[in-house]
Symmetry: none
Subunit: 221 residues, 4 copies
DNA sequence: TATGAATGAGTATTCATTCAT
DNA sequence: GATGAATGAATACTCATTCAT
């Protein structure tokens, strides 16, 4: 009661964000430095002293704004998820705009998703990796994913009558999962750090597009 | 000629495996303890002192058998990959045996793969995570995957005439990637450590099966 | 321009010397403890934990000020060399002041050098020993020696006309080397830790003085 | 009574030297390996496991023959001193043979000594270094030096009447010390590992020769 | 509020020495 | 005797966190 006033306490690790100019600026520098270092060096080799150095802040200042190293990272991820959620809206809008029939809609969706993930890979990689040991980051990641899932449901259900699958919601959920997982793994999220097949990114996008479209339009159980 | 007689020296970190009884036993205890701790605690918080304690061996003994902490982990993973490769053979044999037409073959394949990954998830999770920072483990993982890919190609190409896709090899490669990635992510390999959706494992298997089968039999570019 | 503004970067390992009171004090305690331990125990058996204990500082503090154990030792030696260089100036001034003719100048030089080395023996012993394995310390030692050599050249060349040797510079270089080596060995620099003949220090000084004086005034090739 | 039957117990660390063929051979391999490693790597980085490997003997065998690592090293040094003592005899014989007058005798002595030290530098360097921390090795070194001093006394006193110095024994003692120290330092015994002045070895020998000869023949207090 | 010096628990690794086989 | 596996104390170094100024 003292610590968890809301229903999602874990998902709101926002640090102690100052509103004023000077403090605010150094707060932002901390986050920027942390983000950069996370991208450059991954989760191991991520030391607060480096954040302090890079952000031209003192260690003490960091602890003034964040409870712990974990907290700092969580805030970084939280901010990133927020940005991602915005980008996801744009992405879905874009794909809907392009769309003629369901087939082209699904292909556009797959293409957009692929490029979206590729674009954000540098931040998502360490985030995914961290999710393995930090439940807060894990929850944060799920929140972003869930947001996307909802939007994709809405966008594709608009073409419900063209969906051949007799459980459209499940089918949409499936294609998102499949496409997301496949691209994420190819991009090395949280795993290998390198691609299994670098050259065939284009092929992969096409084939996954075909697969998802075919499945959604034709499959039934 | 002096050190690396084979083409894959990095993939053979086998430690110094004793053949006799007593030494052998403690060697195995080390590996068992390391495997357990890796599964329980992940790659961070994996300390050699704990391996020593749990395996009832001295630190010195570990260094007697392994060059370094990394080497120990690599040997653990190497052993696991070896076991997996055997299991993969059995898996492919089983799915081939069951098969009537291509559709049932692909569904069997997806089902087998899903359960195979689920069965091995506890070991694969830390392995995938480690692959992010240890190139040797990464290479080991790719070896296992490539072995599976080859076997799956052979098994499915036996039904070549039933494949509708005009690039059968690419299509087979794609369904393996897609299925592997989707299940791996669901099982939390290298990432969240927990399922996003626990209940719908069964659904997921079915849908991925349908998707792969449909794609392979009907899709063409 | 970024890292090595001077021509002798290796010779300037000064640690991170704080200027303020409290930090400064513990910095000095570290150096004092390190110096003492080096003198008491030599280079082997010189452990940072002991420095920490003796200096009443934490291990972390030491690493806050010095990059490594080697760096700490180098700073100790560097400081010592700096003090020695000052002392050498005084020494040469003193011997010049006393001097009547070249003979008395050389004898004064030998006497001063002998006592100078004896006085500094406790610190020079471990320093010489360390020079065997640490090139930075070796360079530091040479710098100190070279400084002395230059000053001695100047002081004795002032009496050039009294030098019988037809290569005065070589002769002066030689008497410094000979006297330095002889006293250093007698004092156990870098070697035996004890004197071969403790009693005859006085005799040794006299004889070396005679030898050097005779040689410089009379010898010719 | 059990441990120190003689007056020089410390100077007789001969290990447990077997007389028979096979054991003897491996005993010799141990010593040879130890000697090589001492010369190659110095006193630090000298590990018994390496001696075992290089000598193709087991660690256990080494401990069967020697009480400890220190004991092994002492035996190595002891053997070396024995060889040196023989060589010293030859050296003195040679210089006596060459000699015309005292001047040429002293010059021959200095030349011989210089080359003798240079020849044996690889073994003497680690030995001198070790003497700093191991009193047994120190005593061993003194024994070798003392043997040489005695022989040199005899050889030069044969020319007593040509000695100008009014304390011939002291003078001879002095020139040995001076020459020995100077060359030893130049060759980096126990200290820098490298020469201060590489090129002028020849010059140094000449000048020290001149200095010693002049001193011995002309100096008086 | 801000600073950064200080802390010290934690970790990988080495190596002389012992002892069961 | 010979072997080499096993031991574990010792040691350099890292880094999240605290707290006096």
């Amino acid at each position: 009661m003292d610590e968890a006033p809301e229903s999602e306490p874990l998902l709101n690790p926002t640090g102690r964000e100052p509103k004023q100019g000077r403090s605010r600026a150094s707060f932002e520098r901390m986050l920027a430095a942390a983000t950069d270092l996370l991208m450059e060096r991954g989760n191991d080799d991520f030391a607060l002293t480096d954040v302090a150095k890079r952000g031209k802040v003192s260690i003490g200042s960091i602890y003034c704004r964040f409870d712990s190293k974990d907290d700092l990272i969580q805030v970084v991820q939280h901010r990133f998820i927020d940005r991602m959620i915005i980008e996801q809206s744009e992405m879905v809008a874009r794909m809907t705009a392009k769309a003629g029939d369901l087939d082209s809609l699904v292909r556009a969706f797959v293409e957009e998703l692929a490029e979206f993930l590729k674009r954000n890979a540098p931040v998502m990689r360490p985030m995914m990796q961290r999710a393995a040991s930090d439940p807060v980051v894990s929850a944060l990641g799920q929140r972003g994913y869930q947001d996307l899932a909802d939007k994709v449901q809405t966008a594709l259900l608009a073409r419900r009558e063209e969906i051949g699958h007799n459980l459209p919601e499940l089918a949409i959920d499936t294609i998102l999962r499949v496409a997301y997982s496949t691209f994420a793994r190819h991009l090395g999220f949280g795993m290998t750090g390198g691609n299994y097949n670098k050259a065939d990114w284009k092929n992969l996008k096409t084939e996954v597009g075909v697969m998802c479209s075919t499945y959604l339009r034709n499959a039934h159980r």
